[in-house]
Chain length 731, copies 2
């Protein structure tokens, strides 16, 4: 199915009304952009090599849909078919208990369906398919986010910890029952007193040399394990993280396999206790709870000993000498949680926009330009401004996620799993997960408000998805903490590049160089000049639309911010620990902002790569689709510049007049993309069985048609009461 829309005719913004030179200039520039032909890349050269063949902007929905499905298309299609089954879907309004039991039952269906074992070794019935496993898993969010997360707890955390932190004994002994759900389990890492700071947890596992056992103990209330899925009701075992102590030395956090409950009675085993976390803001299909341990003994062999072991006599050994590196290596094996949240959040944003854009295309409100016909909501500029940039960001997040998933698969399949690869993967996940989880919340909220009162009804799903996804912003790593990790990586890369130079000098150098590059580089030669003549808006704007100009603006910002922060933090090396911490704290916001800028750039690069298709994947893209996707990428890229416009102005990277053009440009791009909005959400590939929102079924269009027909017929029949005449003189 291919919808063809000639953008030059259906642009929702009026051509007839006087618009001012600036708007006209931008519109001509956009018209010109549709003349980019054949040559992929869409940069300045391509435009200069213009012919007069006008490419009609249109979206090949079928092709784009397949393209978006990515590498693991078949797995995704299979998972979507599964989520289309009513028995896998959320029933709104169930009680806590009903919802928990339903989701637990759905987990059993997943097992029967063979959906959840892809990531496990072939030797025990898995498929060693890491990327495919995550791709299928994240699609479950559309059935019910509780199902996604509860299966993630069971197989992605509990099972994956046994797989990645344990060795052959553990795989043979524990994995079969985990895979089959005979042993539902908790992932007991977080404590009431410690969330993101896992290294500081209080629970201890002390080795008893005489008994050859570990003694698991909770020393104080803050060390209770907390917020654990499967802990309140269903879990009969846990992978528990505790400080490993042997021979009176604390070797840091390690993971242990710990039985929790009697499988028959469901009663806690001796020494184990706990509490139900009760009702939550969402995800109530999951039985989160608290656990505590009073000198609970487990066999020595229950230490998941891949990265650290204790011999019978209590001697500790590890293949990784550095305790710090060992800790991060262990945590690194669990990165898939972050990867899958990135994908699931993006899927939720896609559904939110499918709902809001479908409704916005059918719902009418207020007569503006006519005496009788009300306007469709999406024809209002503000409505476009609220939804179109979110659509662009969703595409960016989707393409960026595909890259993350590919990287993840390469590392976990062993195809490319050097230390550097693992660190790159962790940094990429830490950068993208915050952006996509926040984006999903913002998009769900904007969609909810854009649908008015209808958006508030559970039957339209936006509120339920938002409630469930709320916690995605702070679990599997608080978003701000993750961005701080990214920033530390950026700073250490930066310092490695200039290892032997004086930082202050270097930072100035880099800033100057970046500024120089920006102002004198080929793409942005005159960016910092004041464009006094507004007649030149078209040309200045054309430069901004170049992919290379966008890249330079976004890259320059990251590099400059990192360089500035590095220079400011340089004195820390000579300060006390307290002084250094204070200095770091004084610049914490800047540090995190630099990381965010880096993550945005990653999304932009992924989008650009997807449009340009250097991998050849995009080779089937027709020219019309490329025009639409390029506009969408431009909206994303210039939207980022607009969001950070004050920075570009303060740092002399954009002149005031050019900065004004940025905002006008994103507005016109939104208007230009408006006729393609429905196609662009159709390409997400979610059918009514996935969207399941009463207002996105065409019902609103039927209601509007019926209403308009009623008035039309009454006017035709002369039965419509006349409006009251206005009085001759109103005050």
């Amino acid at each position: 199915m291919t919808h063809t829309v000639d953008s030059t005719n259906t642009d929702s913004a009026p051509r007839s009304a006087p618009q001012g030179d600036e708007v006209e200039a931008i519109d001509s520039e956009l018209d010109a952009s549709a003349r980019i032909t054949k040559k992929p890349g869409g940069g300045a050269d391509a435009r200069r090599a213009t012919t007069n063949d006008v490419v009609v902007a249109r979206t090949d929905v079928e092709w784009l849909g397949r393209y978006l499905l990515g590498t693991w298309a078949d797995v995704r299609i299979g998972a979507r078919a599964l989520t289309a089954k009513p028995e896998m879907q959320r029933i709104e309004g169930q009680s806590l208990e009903e919802h928990r039991e339903r989701v637990f039952g759905q987990l059993k269906l997943l097992v029967e369906n063979g959906q959840v074992h892809r990531a496990f070794p072939e030797s025990i019935g898995g498929a060693d398919d890491h990327g495919g496993n995550i791709a299928g898993f994240e699609e479950l969010v559309l059935a019910d986010p509780s199902l996604q997360i509860k299966s993630g707890v069971q197989w992605g955390l509990f099972g994956a910890a046994v797989l990645h932190l344990g060795t052959d004994y553990h795989h043979q002994t524990f994995l079969p029952a985990i895979m089959s759900l005979d042993v539902p389990g908790a992932f007991a890492m977080t404590e009431t007193g410690h969330g993101s700071d896992v290294a500081a947890i209080g629970t201890t596992a002390t080795y008893d040399e005489d008994a050859h056992e570990f003694v698991i103990h909770t020393p104080f209330r803050g060390a209770w394990k907390d917020y654990l899925g499967n802990a309140a009701v269903h879990g009969t075992a846990a992978v528990l993280f505790a400080q490993l102590i042997t021979k009176n030395v604390n070797h840091g956090v390690h993971a242990f396999y710990v039985p929790l409950r009697d499988a028959v009675t469901g009663e806690f085993l001796p020494g184990v206790g706990g509490e139900d976390d009760g009702l939550k803001g969402g995800l109530n299909g999951i039985d989160n709870g608290r656990l505590h341990f009073d000198h609970v003994r487990i066999p020595r062999e229950n230490l998941l000993n891949r990265y650290g072991d204790v011999a019978e006599d209590g001697t500790y050994s590890s293949p990784i000498a550095s305790p710090g590196r060992r800790f991060f290596t262990m945590l690194g094996t669990l990165v898939q949680g972050r990867v899958s949240l990135d994908g699931a959040s993006t899927a939720a944003a896609k559904v939110a926009l499918t709902i809001a854009i479908t409704y916005g295309n059918e719902r009418r409100q207020f007569t503006a330009g006519s005496d009788t016909d009300e306007e469709v909501l999406l024809d209002y500029q503000l409505h476009q401004k609220r939804l179109m940039p979110k659509l662009a960001t969703t595409y960016a997040a989707s393409f960026a996620h595909e890259q993350l998933l590919t990287k993840f698969d390469q590392v976990f399949s062993g195809e490319a799993d050097s230390d550097d690869d693992r660190q790159d993967l962790e940094t990429l996940a830490a950068a993208l997960k915050p952006l996509s989880t926040w984006h999903a919340l913002e998009t769900l909220q904007e969609a909810r408000e854009a649908c008015g009162g209808a958006g508030f009804l559970a039957e339209n799903r936006l509120v339920g998805l938002r409630a469930d996804l709320d916690i995605y912003a702070t679990f599997e790593g608080d978003n701000h903490v993750l961005l701080q990790l990214v920033a530390k990586r950026l700073l250490s890369d930066y310092s490695r590049r200039f290892a032997n130079a004086d930082f202050g000098v270097l930072a100035r150098y880099v800033v100057e160089q970046a500024a120089d590059k920006t102002m004198n580089g080929s793409g942005l030669r005159s960016l910092a000049q004041t464009v006094a003549d507004f007649g030149s808006t078209a040309r200045s704007v054309g430069q901004l639309r170049d992919a290379s100009a966008q890249r330079q603006l976004l890259t320059d910002r990251v590099e400059t911010m990192v360089g500035e922060v590095a220079a400011k933090l340089r004195p820390a090396a000579k300060l006390s620990k307290k002084g250094a911490a204070d200095l770091f704290n004084l610049h914490q916001s800047e540090i995190i902002e630099a990381a965010r800028a880096h993550a945005e750039l990653l999304q932009w690069e992924a989008f650009t790569e997807a449009v340009d298709g250097p991998t050849g994947q995009a080779s089937g893209m027709d020219d019309g689709t490329r025009v639409v996707l390029t506009w969408l990428r431009d909206l994303f890229g210039l939207g980022l510049v607009e969001k950070h416009l004050a920075w570009y102005l303060m740092n002399g990277r954009l002149s005031p007049s050019r900065a004004r053009a940025v905002g006008l440009y994103t507005e016109r791009l939104s208007a230009r993309l408006r006729p393609h909005a429905q196609d662009l959400v159709s390409a997400f590939g979610y059918g009514p069985e996935h969207v399941r929102a009463a207002i996105a079924t065409g019902a609103e269009r039927e209601r509007q048609t019926e209403a308009r027909e009623y008035y039309r017929a009454a006017r035709a029949a002369g039965t419509l009461p006349a409006p009251e005449k206005k009085p001759a003189r109103t005050r």
Copy 2:
């Protein structure tokens, strides 16, 4: 109770670490600001008249608490006592049915308690106390937002419509049973097809001259009444809005009293039908539903005929000749809904910050500057940046609400109820309600995330309040539609000022004048100059801190934006209806942004008035409290400038270097206010019985103390296992 904190000692930002000239300059400026003595106003003069008497910044919590209670302090205190009773409070996790019944029961308790009749006339048992009525009503949000809104439906909408749109017959006939809740009723305005555009509703009320009856009819599905509280279950009558048709003329929307259900059986009366809206994203204690009517007949007398009447023979008459003005006059009587949402949202933001700041002051995470002690969350710069500006905005919204409520009381009591007064009230409500409802949602979300996983538990209330308040952004007038109303008022005021001049010329004139004023006015003489010498940051920043400079920056932005938009819309007068609508649409975002800027200015003015106390009310404010509140106001004002920094830069109102100082300044203000954060939320006056969040009870402090004591004792006893030695050589 007065907490005294010497800000010069406890500023959380380090003095010892190197901070750079800019930070030092700002800190000195802030030190100097604490030397403002005696003289209220805190402007440049006061500072120049500095003595060496240092005023210790501190908050007189008791005084400030009383001050915040405002004019209707006694009513608020009474209402808070009522919301402290468990039987009035929400029970989390109830089913839809249980919750609905509970809230309906609570409405009866309100009646018994005499809480809900203040706004009704003394002649029928009320108190004619309009401001007090709203003040008490909005406090109910802390018991359960469903209780607030359901009582709002019954007495603030259904009852108020009978009161304000009806005449003596209706007051005598219907009000007693409404007041006593013997007749629970719906306010049947919104339709499935029409939310904010009330004028276009489809339901008709056609006068039958023979029967002396109105015939209420729903002509098509889109004209079903929708989202109506009390419609799904409890309502036995409704005030229904419909197009009044008599003698084949449509006189526009009027209100009718329409019986819905048999009071005994609860069954719909003949011709009436409906549906349950079912589960919603929040407010599930209210039975929202849909209604439709099939030629339902009501007596002629059931027309609420204050602003429009139909004689027995079908002749229509109205005291207001213009149909448009009549319509807006009728709707205007219902402004109290918006007023009360403004107050309730602000109350919810106060509780959210009480929870997040209390927890942020107790919760520790990560050791930064120490080997053993973890940092309190609120000592992190980012945590301050996330919460302190929200605290400042909450104060601004609170003071602005007090002004709105006062204006409302003056109009409705008849003390000052000219047409201009009513229009001012409506504009003020339309400006403030969007800002405060969005602010509440953002604050609840930021508080939720700042509390991590604990914030997601229902027991900590943030998620529940957010879910309930979500709809506040779009009901009683969609926020964007309200801002558009404000903008139209700003534009019409503007055009009235220059009624006979050519707009294009004038707009340019105004812009130039504003720019001139900004750049050459006394307070901001050198604002637009490049401050090349960073040593002057202190002085340039000192100017920004002047109340008059903030006012000028904020006012200038509103005036410039309005002037620019007016000039751009000027050609509309000469265009077709379609052309004019298109032109308006092309600038819709700017129009709404101008309205938002105006509303922010109103909040800032209210805050400033409250600090300066020109009314004398603030006369009891001690100097220490004034220093703290002035910092808080500065954080709000400069926060607004920071938020719109790109505008100030693009329009030459701030130089790049001064713009940089703004961001640094708000950061330092947040740090400076950090030691006062707990006092500032204490002054909101909500006790544990109102806050009811497990994490804000001091439980976290106990847990942290226990954990630290455990480690301290173990270290002292030498029983704490030693950390693993780092290897001699790590890779």
